[in-house]
């Protein structure tokens, strides 16, 4: 009896998780994909007009807001990439100079504990043209500095990038630091004995050795960029105009502000496709890593 129960209990214990996966994830994704082909507006409709199945996607392609959102996604992705570079520089310096390692790590990582909404609120205040940093620079005579980024549609995106780099760099520093520490310490000694210059050591030895860490960071960063929503809401709420819209913002806006279920679904499907395009390299990367490990063994 006991043996039979112990055979069945694990399967029974998995039922809730299985049900959630099938309904809330797999089912819900298929559901949204289905809705994206319908003409649903405020309420879901389940009739597909096959002669016009791609109407939501056609509209999306012609929508200026969506074009801006896609462009901003690329800009945000490239800009946030600075967080990885910055994170690596910080990690390399901390790793070289062991003094104060704990202190610096604590300082560089604390923004990660702060939510993106709070980050956005704080930076929004510093970008304030009358009382913020711009005013401070002007008052000490540096009147050429323009720090009123959020007010102009050309620079608002850079403001968001600056705030997200501030919030996220510490995380990449932690990953890079872990990567640096796993490098065999004999390499450092050997390089010193050979008189290899610091630049060559990093660019020709250390960075190539850490390519997996860099790739992991890049993929994690891209997945985070696709999901970026909170920081945009807190800093600009999409403005000025539509200039800081991103796909995540567009989708939520299509659902809540435009009350257009089918349209929001179509945008969400494109978001899923973008995520899949980033996700695929991760799977390939792990396969590659696996092969590299086996080759070494």
């Amino acid at each position: 009896m006991v043996i039979r129960w112990s055979r069945w209990s694990p399967q029974l214990a998995l039922i809730p998780a299985l049900a959630i996966t099938l309904v809330a994830f797999v089912g819900a994704i298929l559901w949204t994909i289905f809705l994206s082909f319908t003409r649903s507006r405020r309420f879901p409709e389940y009739l597909i007009d096959w002669s016009d199945w791609s109407r939501q996607y056609d509209r999306l392609l012609k929508d200026d807001g969506w074009q801006i959102a896609l462009q901003n996604l690329v800009v945000l992705g490239l800009g946030s990439f600075l967080a990885i570079v910055f994170g690596f520089i910080l990690a390399a310096l901390i790793d070289r100079e062991k003094r104060g390692e704990g202190l610096f790590r604590t300082i560089f990582l604390y923004p990660l504990a702060v939510s993106l909404i709070v980050t956005g609120v704080a930076w929004r205040w510093m970008f304030n043209p009358s009382f913020g940093l711009q005013n401070f620079f002007h008052s000490i005579g540096l009147t050429f500095i323009n720090f009123n980024w959020l007010a102009s549609s050309d620079t608002a995106m850079y403001g968001i990038i600056l705030a997200s780099v501030w919030q996220g760099s510490g995380f990449y520093m932690a990953l890079m630091l872990a990567g640096l520490k796993s490098i065999n310490s004999e390499i450092w000694s050997a390089a010193r004995l050979d008189g290899v210059s610091v630049w060559r050591l990093y660019f020709e030895i250390i960075i190539p050795m850490m390519k997996f860490t860099f790739l992991t960071c890049a993929i994690l960063l891209s997945l985070g960029v696709v999901k970026a929503y909170d920081i945009v809401v807190a800093m600009t709420n999409g403005g000025p105009g539509q200039s800081t819209w991103v796909p995540a913002y567009f989708t939520i806006n299509a659902y809540w502000a435009k009350s257009n279920l089918g349209y929001a679904s179509a945008a969400a499907v494109i978001m899923l496709l973008i995520t899949a395009a980033i996700f695929l390299p991760l799977v390939l990367l792990t396969a590659w890593r696996e092969r590299a490990r086996e080759a070494r063994a």
């Binding site: 399967q11 949204t32 939510s115 510093m126 992991t216």
Partner: protein, 325 residues
């Protein structure tokens, strides 16, 4: 084992060797010029990270008169706690002026049920997948791995429908709605948090339990232990480490969440971050900047407290949950 398993394993254990003594401790010498240059550079970077915190803290203690003078770096003169009290008690979001206290208690009320739901669900699932013979375990793990990456927007609309009244079902003339009917309540937000964190937490638990030696499991089975008995008496006492890491990861991510609270919260059940955003964004007339900054700090204090007290676990959790993004 397939490859995805290694990725997670790598981000959880192998890569995170943060505190390791150097193999060749360097001989203490006088400080070199290069060291000074590095330290100065790091100090400047540290200033970049600290300036926002300094500005928020000082602004929150200033009077509006002093803020209008425009020196953002000045120390509060006179120092006042009014903004903190106002932010907590009577800051306005929209037409209601109840301050952040409502949001604070909502966040607390969301936190506990969703912690219990998500930790309970994912630890048992991870345990069953790691230590018991389930034929379809690998397929299921792969699906979970994919689910952990899915953007929220792709499942948002079905989740709104399902947590609401649900879908009308007509079963042989017997009509009813299949839905949880919790949309807009504290429970709704808590349940959605538990659902969305299930894949990644299950993977974290599963990787941890996979490291338990098989001898322990066979001994426990010999001892005629049942599935639940082994879990409660042997596995749970061994899980203290992973439980605290996951607990901290969940507390900070639920507390810092904005999108789920916004989507599933109703009037009066919104979590603190949503109330904060409403207070700051929907101001009419001149914004009370000191109040806004105090509100932001009030929202940030719980996770910051956890970070400064339990930093090591926090970093471990955030890297393990990295793919949650």
């Amino acid at each position: 084992m397939t490859t995805f398993d290694r990725t997670i394993g790598a981000t959880t254990n192998a890569d995170i060797v943060v505190d390791r003594a150097p193999l060749f401790p360097r001989v203490k010498k006088g400080i070199s010029g290069r060291s000074i240059a590095i330290l100065v550079f790091l100090a400047i970077c540290a200033a970049f990270f600290c300036v926002p915190l300094y500005i928020i803290v000082t602004t929150s203690f200033k009077t509006m008169d002093q803020i209008r003078q425009g020196d953002i770096f000045s120390l509060p003169m006179p120092l006042t706690f009014d903004a903190w009290w106002n932010a907590w008690d009577n800051a306005c979001s929209g037409i209601k002026c109840d301050g952040l206290k409502v949001g604070f208690w909502n966040s607390m009320a969301i936190l506990f049920p969703s912690l219990i739901l998500s930790l309970g669900l994912s630890s048992v699932t991870g345990y069953a997948l790691a230590l018991w013979n389930v034929k379809w375990a690998n397929t299921f793990l792969f699906v979970l791995f994919m689910c952990a990456f899915v953007p929220f927007q792709i499942i948002m609309i079905p989740l709104i429908i399902l947590t609401g009244r649900g879908v009308p079902i007509d079963l042989f003339g017997f009509q009813f709605f299949a839905g949880l009917n919790v949309y807009g309540t504290i429970w709704g937000i808590a349940v959605v948090h538990a659902i969305l964190s299930m894949p990644i937490l299950t993977l974290i638990f599963r990787n941890y339990y996979k490291g338990i030696p098989t001898e322990i499991m066979s001994a426990a089975l010999m001892d005629s232990g049942s599935f639940w008995k082994i879990f409660v008496e042997i596995i749970l006492p061994m899980s203290a480490n992973i439980l605290i890491v996951v607990l901290i990861l969940q507390i900070t991510s639920i507390w810092n969440d904005f999108l789920l609270g916004l989507t599933f919260g109703g009037l009066g059940t919104q979590p603190m971050s949503v109330v904060l955003a409403n207070v700051v964004i929907t101001t009419t007339g001149e914004a009370a900047y000191n109040e806004n900054m105090a509100a932001a700090l009030l929202t940030a204090i719980p996770p910051l407290f956890i970070y400064f007290v339990l930093g090591k676990f926090f970093v471990e959790g955030i890297t393990a949950g990295a793919i949650k993004g």
